[in-house]
Amino acid sequence: MRSKTRRAALAVLSAGTLLLAAACGGDDSSEADESTITWWHNSNNEPGKGYYEQVAKDFEADHPGVDVQVSAMAHEDMVDKLAAAFQSGDLPDVYMERGGGELADHVEAGLVRDLSDDAADEVEKIGGSVAGWQVDDKTYALPFSLGVVGFWYNKEQFEQAGITELPITMDDLYDVIDKLKAADLTPLSVGAGDKWPAAHYWYAAALRSCPEEVLTDAVGSLDFSDDCFERAGDVVEELIETEPFNAGFLSTPAQEGATSASGLLATGKVAMEMQGHWEPGVMQGLTDDGKGLGDKTGWFPFPEVDGGEGDPAAQLGGGDAWAVPEGSPDVAVDLVRYLLSDEVQTGFAENDMGLPTNPAATGAVSDPALAQLLEVRDAAPFVQLYFDTAFGESVGGAMNDEIALMFAGKASPDDVVSATQQAADEEK
């Protein structure tokens, strides 16, 4: 009896020790092995997944002795895992950065490696697109895909409503909305339940209302006192007052399921939705035949606003970039440089995985909608990073919340600016 108790006690004690060991462990891989590098990406569907596996194999073939461990994850999983990795400081050697304020925070905490010199050729080749990933003139990540936001529309429904010309100004857009309503069609869907799709309207309006310097300054100084920000709110408020949105838009999610904003466009329940470059892919996933809107898909940029001081050709957008943590081996930088090479970016474009940033790959995009976006993006004098990304989660989140309130009729253009400014002041 006694020996039994003792054995049980021993088992319990060792279980406890194991538990403690498990709780304390996990940081033993920070001393990276020069020959093994880890790479996290979010292309977890074919053809992207297979393509990146091949890329890793090709890289290993060119670098004998190097082992690339690839982890393909669903986007949301990757975001969660990265947040945990940042907390523990145990980061993969190559990972994705969205740029803007989030990257600036990572840089300030000394977590991201400066690539300005190590990848100078690539930085030069990518050109202006790299701006969103620069902090104090140094480049910390190389964007491999950069898209722009605009209105995706259903060509068939536009025809049905007798719309022959795409809107150039806000007044044109109101005409389009009236015509669609007259034809008994719902003009727009917006996933205001997720907030950011609603906020994109305000961002786009601010881009048209504010001169480039004001926007660039605001990202650095977090000063929103220029009255163009309030005028941007006026533009959005005016649009909301025309009641163009799908029923229940305040609780509509962005892209989950057939009744989401993207689902409504994909299934012909609404005529337009303002969304990013990923929309055709999202819509394909939301229809039974996997085609989304197919040939009926059309696109036009956010219209000009009255008295706007912004360049009408400037576009709102964002993308993903490869970054390397501080302390990772040089061969990780080599992998990032390889990922931005003409060869890999061309394959990336051929597989319709995004909008390549390396000009050598421009011609390889086969999807007509994406090819059109690429043209618009490259013709833009500058691409403004989504404001929530540019300002970081804290300020961006406060701004998105207030803009969502405006869509619910519970906040004025002035409220949006002051809530954003208040959150920004907390950061200083």
Binding site: T5, G16, Q87, A192, A247, G248, S251, T259, D401, A408
Partner: protein, 297 residues
């Protein structure tokens, strides 16, 4: 001290250690780190060194969204008691009678409670879709007009709708507990009351109800704590929207923490939520549940 006493203590220590270790790692340590976090400005990475004292608490308590969240929690607590208690009692008393299909009815009432909250939430979310959902379809079919922006998209309707779904989900627990309590009432008492000339209604009110006291008080406690911590259903149905009409303390702290990376503020909000729940639980234990333990002695 005898040798046996010493051995007994060691034995107790050995058996208690694993439980204490689990409690320490999964309860005490997280609480302690949340408290610590609440005194810093921290974005979720890098060293935690920007000490701000009580500033995060000031921001949380001064934030209208958080105050609204507390109000929503209180509404859910009170409404749960006012609606679910009488409804649960009535259904339990009905199902305690020998009626046909009793087993089936009991199962039907209890099924929502067994269902995973997120799955139930997703189903309700689809049922409540404006225009294309089943609920709107039924309302239109009987000739009424469903709300233009849907039940979940109209700020004024979102919280009541949420509460209806929560009642559907949790009524089963109340009924189950009350049924168990009623089953504990000895038949002799009913017979004695009947002999004294009491009708069904009188027996229920004068005999069954008072004897249900301890069960009702336990349910009240569970209901209150559950309402204060309400998260899953809100997150799935509305995410706290529209226009912050359904935020709870839990959705507020998740929003501040994982969405906005204001971990200090999230920490402060979680400490406030913890204190509110803790104080209420303790007060309830001391003032109300104590009666039950005392009478049993």
């Amino acid at each position: 001290m005898t040798r046996g006493g010493w051995r007994q203590r060691l034995e107790i220590l050995l058996f208690v250690t694993p439980a204490l270790a689990l409690l320490g790692v999964f309860v005490v340590w997280p609480i302690a780190s949340a408290v610590r976090m609440s005194f810093y400005r921290w974005k979720g990475f890098g060293p935690m060194e920007d000490f701000v004292g009580l500033r995060n608490y000031d921001r949380v308590l001064g934030d209208d969204v958080f105050r609204d969240a507390v109000a929503h929690n209180v509404v859910i607590v009170v409404a749960s008691i006012v609606v679910q208690l009488p409804l649960g009692l009535a259904i339990a008393m009905l199902l305690n009678r020998k009626i046909r299909l009793r087993g089936l009815l009991r199962t039907i009432v209890f099924v929502p409670y067994v269902m995973a909250e997120v799955i139930a939430g997703v189903i309700w979310f689809q049922l409540l879709q404006p225009r294309y959902g089943v609920v709107d379809g039924i309302i239109s079919a009987v000739g009424l007009t469903p709300p233009e922006q849907g039940f979940l998209g109209t700020p004024e309707l979102a919280l009541p709708t949420l509460f209806v779904v929560l009642t559907w989900k949790y009524l089963g627990l109340a009924v189950l507990l009350f049924l168990a309590g009623l089953q504990g009432v000895p038949d002799e008492l009913y017979e004695a009351a009947q002999l004294d000339g009491a009708g069904w209604w009188q027996t229920q009110v004068r005999v069954a109800l008072p004897l249900l006291g301890p069960t009702i008080r336990t349910w009240l406690f569970l209901s209150m704590i559950g309402s204060l911590q309400q998260f899953d259903m809100v997150w799935v149905l509305t995410g706290g929207g529209p226009a912050n009409a359904t935020t709870t303390m839990a959705t507020y702290l998740i929003n501040q923490g994982t969405q906005r990376h204001n971990y200090g503020i999230a920490g402060a909000a979680s400490v406030v939520l913890f204190l509110v729940s803790f104080v209420m639980a303790l007060a309830y234990q001391l003032l109300i549940l104590r009666r039950d333990t005392v009478t049993q002695e």
